[in-house]
């Protein structure tokens, strides 16, 4: 019968319309901003810099690896120098141009110090195109606790790794072979 396909299609639409009142699968609207979907842990938007205790004492050592590897070149670092002009393992300037960043997380992957991580925050609307979208060191700094709050699994892994590294450093570096010590049962 001509028109049967049309009627069938309309029946599907009607089923979806009515079904949306009962079935969560069919009613998928999330009423942002009143209702916010639970953020997915892995979600990445823009980078932030992790600090352990004080915001001016970042994990970042200004090694400039991320600056070099960043594909759109949106990171800018100047290393801090002390009074004598010797370089210090801290960035003096650490700027990220959010208007260029493509959220690829390559900086996170190449960072050997776990100092830069990806944030969940996405709402940065701004009407100042120049300074409003240039994030400096203080704006980028976030505590390790914040990192734990947005990415618990990953942060726990990172912490364990860092703790293992510090423990390794604390021990005398070349451990002499002590067959007796390893054979002895630990007290």
């Amino acid at each position: 019968m001509f028109g049967l396909g049309l009627i069938k299609g309309l029946a599907v639409t009607a089923r979806n319309l009515i079904g949306s009142y009962f079935d969560r699968e069919r009613m998928t609207t999330v009423c942002y901003p009143e209702e916010i979907r639970p953020p997915i842990e892995n979600f990445r938007n823009f980078p932030f810099l992790v600090y352990d205790e004080r915001p001016d004492d970042l994990r970042c050592v200004a090694c400039k690896i991320c600056e070099k590897e960043c594909p759109p070149q949106c990171i800018f670092i100047i290393q801090r120098r002390d009074d004598q002009g010797r370089p210090v393992k801290q960035p003096e300037v650490f700027d990220i141009d959010l208007s260029v960043c493509m959220s690829c997380a390559i900086c996170v992957e190449v960072c050997p110090f776990d100092a830069i991580k990806m944030d969940h925050k996405f709402d940065y609307p701004s009407d100042n195109r120049f300074r409003g979208l240039l994030a400096d060191k203080m704006q980028l700094a976030r505590s390790n606790a914040y990192y734990h709050s947005i990415r618990p699994t990953e942060a726990a892994e990172v912490d364990a790794r860092l703790a293992a590294e510090t423990a390794k450093k604390a021990k005398p570096a070349p451990l002499p072979a002590k067959p007796n010590a390893s054979a002895a049962p630990s007290a």
């Binding site: 938007n45 996405f122 609307p125």
Partner: protein, 218 residues
């Protein structure tokens, strides 16, 4: 609430306490400006205008899960003559820039521009390309910038709310006229033309004034 306005903005000058007092008595008072801005911000019709990747997120915003209709902005108009808002969603190339400016010129006032995504703001990851315009604000006045590549649909909704707040602050005050009440201001921006090596001019110097690049040493 700002004080000391005259004329049509009388209602806005009314004390908030008095207003709520009257409301309790069943009398609703608003200013002409309030109604005007309310109706304007509740029906921001965007132009159906996708350029690149961000356009897909723009469609996703209009689709079921994020539902742009809740903000009265789901009516995507294919023609600029019926649109209030231009969402520049994606990379503006130099080949496309004259068309974008021309479409903007064809939109009726009041009109707003959202630069969605890194590419529209500054050229983004493609900034160093020979055919990529380093930001649509070189030719058009942009109201809201949303960074992100691409911004999440929530970020677009957020930017729309930002724009609505911005519209709410607009005034009918004759002493501070908005652009579109000025009969001399045609709000038409010069369309760049294709040159031998680049667009000419390469930016609209009348309003695009970059600050000095903050890098003197490096």
């Amino acid at each position: 609430m700002e004080q000391g306005r005259t004329g049509v903005a009388l209602g806005a000058a009314m004390d908030d306490r008095l207003k709520s007092e009257l409301q309790r008595a069943g009398i609703f008072v608003t200013s002409l400006e309030g109604i005007y801005n309310w109706s304007r911000r509740s029906s921001v019709w965007p132009l159906q205008f996708g350029l690149a990747c961000c356009a897909i997120e723009m469609i996703a915003t209009a689709a079921a899960r994020y539902d742009l209709a809740r903000f009265g902005a789901e009516v995507f108009r294919p023609t600029p003559r019926q649109a209030d808002l231009m969402i520049v969603a994606g990379t503006v190339t130099k080949k496309m820039a004259p068309q974008v400016v021309r479409i903007y010129n064809q939109m009726p006032e009041p009109k707003y521009v959202i630069a969605m995504g890194a590419c529209a703001i500054s050229g983004g990851p493609f900034k160093q390309g020979y055919n990529v315009l380093k930001g649509i604000d070189r030719y058009l006045p942009v109201d809201v910038h949303i960074p992100g590549c691409p911004p999440r649909p929530e970020a677009l909704l957020n930017a729309l709310m930002f724009l609505q707040r911005k519209i709410d602050r607009q005034t009918l005050d004759a002493s501070r006229p908005l652009r579109w009440y000025d009969p001399m201001d045609k709000a038409e921006f010069p369309v760049p033309s294709y040159g031998a090596h680049d667009l000419t001019p390469s930016s609209n110097r009348a309003f695009w004034k970059p600050e000095a690049t903050p890098r003197n040493e490096g």
